[in-house]
Amino acid sequence: MNLKGKKKERNSKNDRGFLVFHNTSEVIRAEAILRKKGWNVRVMGPPPELRTGCDLVIEFPLVEQLNIFRILKENRMPPLEMVPVDNPLMKPVDLIRTKDYGDYIMVRAANMKMTVEKNTLKIVNISGGGCPDVPYVAEELIGKTLKDAPSPKEIGHTLCAYALHMAYEEMKKICLL
C-alpha cells in the first residue's frame, strides 16, 4: 500500500515547536538571528492557547530546542516559551526515577539515564536517548566527576540532551553538590 500523501498533511508539523516572545519586534529580530545561522524557521500567527499579547510566533524544529535556545540567549533574545506546535500546553516530562545499585546510583529522566559511582562521584555511564548528540555528550561526560563534567545543557543540542540535563541536575542534588 502506498501511503504517500495520505498522512503527509496530518503529521508534517509533529516535529515543530513555537518560540513565543514578548512582542513583535522581538519576533522579527529572533527570526533574523536564526535565519542568519541557517535555520529553517517561519513566522506565523499563534494558536489561541498562546495569545500573550504578541501577534506572532516563530515555528522551529522542536527537537533542536536546546541549540536554538542557546543561540537566542547568546544574542540576548531568549524566548518566553518554547512549546510543541501540536499541543502548546504540553510540558516537559517531570518524572524522575532513581535506582540505587549500592556503590552506584542511576537517575532516569524521560528516556535518559546517568549513572555515578558514589565514592568518587565519577560519571560511569550514560544510557538511553536517540538524538545524535547523545553519544557525543556521553563521550564528553563519562570518566569525569560531577564537579568537573560540563553540563549536558551547555554541550548538547537536542531534547535528549535536555532530558539528560534533568537527570544530571537531579544527580547533583542527590550527591549534595
Binding site: 518524572l95 528516556n111 536517540g130 543540542h157 531534547l159
Partner: protein, 300 residues
C-alpha cells in the same frame, strides 16, 4: 543485504559507506576504523560479529558525523534519498539520526518506490520520527526501552521529553503501555521492549517475555540497547523470522551481559566481546527453551 544507517559522534559530516567488519576491538566501515563506545558503532559492531560468527554476509553501513547539530543527519538523509530505491537491501536498520519528519518521509517514500519492500527496523532517533510521522505500523521492528515505550504510547508526545506524566513509565505498567502504543497505531508490527524483562510483541500481542538471565546493571550501561538492535538486525538478515530473531536477540544480549559479570560502571565494549559465546549458547536448543513461552520456530 543488510544496510545499517546512522550517525557517529564526530564533527566531520562526510558520508562513509562500505562493508562492516569487526576486528581487534574496532569496527570498520570500508577502510575507516571507528572506536566502539556506544551508539551506532556499537550497533554495527554487534551486527558484524553475529554475521561473522554465523556465516552471514557482512552488513553494509552508511554513516556521517553528527554531534547533534543535525548537519550530518541531513547530509545522510539527502545521500540516501536518491539511492535507497535501487539499493538491493532486504533489511534496513535506521538508528541515531536527527528526528525530522520531512526527511523521514522522503526516505520512507523512496523505500515505498521499491518493487520489493525491505524489512524496516528502527531504533533511537529514527524510531522517534517514524512514530511522529504516523507511519509506525509500516515498520517491521522497533526496539524501545520503557521511557521510549511511554513516548510511543502517548499519541500527543512529539519526543520522549514531552511524554505526559499520567502515562506511567514503570516496569509493571509495560503491558498497558504496549497495548496503548498499538491502539494508537504508534507501534511497529513487532517490538522488543527492553527492560528488566524484555517483552516481544507482535501486532499488539505479547508473544514472549525474556527475563533470564536477569543482570540488573545492564540497564545502566550505555550501548546495551544498541547491541540488541545490531544482533536482531543480523539475525533477520540471516533469515530468521522477525519475532524469532527478536526472542533470540534478547536472550543473546542478556547472556553476553551475564558472561561479562558487569557492574553499573562497565562499558559496553567489555560486554560485546562475549557476544560470540552468547550466540553459540543461545543457539543450543536447551537455552532457546528457557523461561518464556515455548514455541516452534520456522526459518523463512
Amino acid at each position: 543485504m543488510l544496510a545499517l544507517i546512522g550517525t557517529v559522534p564526530r564533527v566531520d559530516s562526510k558520508i562513509i559507506h562500505g562493508e562492516v567488519l569487526f576486528r581487534n576491538g574496532y569496527v570498520s566501515i570500508g577502510s575507516e576504523n571507528l572506536p566502539i563506545h556506544r551508539g551506532f558503532p556499537a550497533m554495527i559492531a554487534a551486527a558484524a560479529m553475529v554475521c561473522m560468527e554465523s556465516g552471514f554476509p557482512p552488513p553494509l553501513a552508511f554513516t556521517s558525523g553528527d554531534i547533534g547539530l543535525g548537519d550530518g543527519s541531513r547530509r545522510l538523509y539527502k545521500y540516501l534519498k536518491d539511492r535507497l530505491t535501487d539499493l538491493p537491501a532486504k533489511a534496513l536498520t535506521f538508528h541515531y539520526l536527527m528526528p525530522d519528519i520531512n526527511w523521514h518521509n522522503q526516505i520512507f517514500w523512496a523505500i515505498e518506490e521499491r518493487l520489493e519492500k525491505p524489512i524496516l527496523i528502527a531504533d533511537a532517533g529514527f524510531m522517534y520520527v517514524a512514530k511522529m510521522s504516523g507511519y509506525a505500523p509500516s515498520y517491521d521492528l522497533f526496539t524501545p526501552d520503557i521511557g521510549e515505550l511511554a513516548f510511543l504510547a502517548d499519541d500527543m508526545a512529539p519526543h520522549p521529553f514531552y511524554t505526559r506524566g499520567f502515562i506511567c513509565h514503570d516496569e509493571n505498567n509495560v503491558p498497558s503501555l504496549i497495548s496503548r502504543a498499538y491502539q494508537g497505531r504508534n507501534a511497529s508490527k513487532v517490538m522488543i521492549v527492553k527492560g528488566e524483562k524484555d517483552y516481544i510483541c507482535n501486532e499488539g500481542e505479547i508473544m514472549a517475555i525474556i527475563e533470564e538471565p536477569f543482570i540488573e546493571p545492564l540497564e545502566a550501561i550505555g550501548g546495551t540497547g544498541d547491541t540488541l538492535t545490531g544482533i536482531v538486525s543480523a539475525l533477520v538478515h540471516g533469515g530468521y523470522a522477525i519475532e524469532e530473531a527478536a526472542i533470540m536477540a534478547a536472550r543473546i544480549n542478556r547472556l553476553a551481559g551475564e558472561l561479562a559479570k558487569p557492574t553499573p560502571g562497565t562499558q559496553v565494549s567489555e560486554i560485546m566481546r562475549y557476544i560470540p559465546r552468547a550466540l553459540s549458547m543461545a543457539l543450543e536448543k536447551h537455552i532457546l527453551g528457557g523461561n518464556y513461552e515455548k514455541r516452534t520456530f520456522n526459518r523463512r
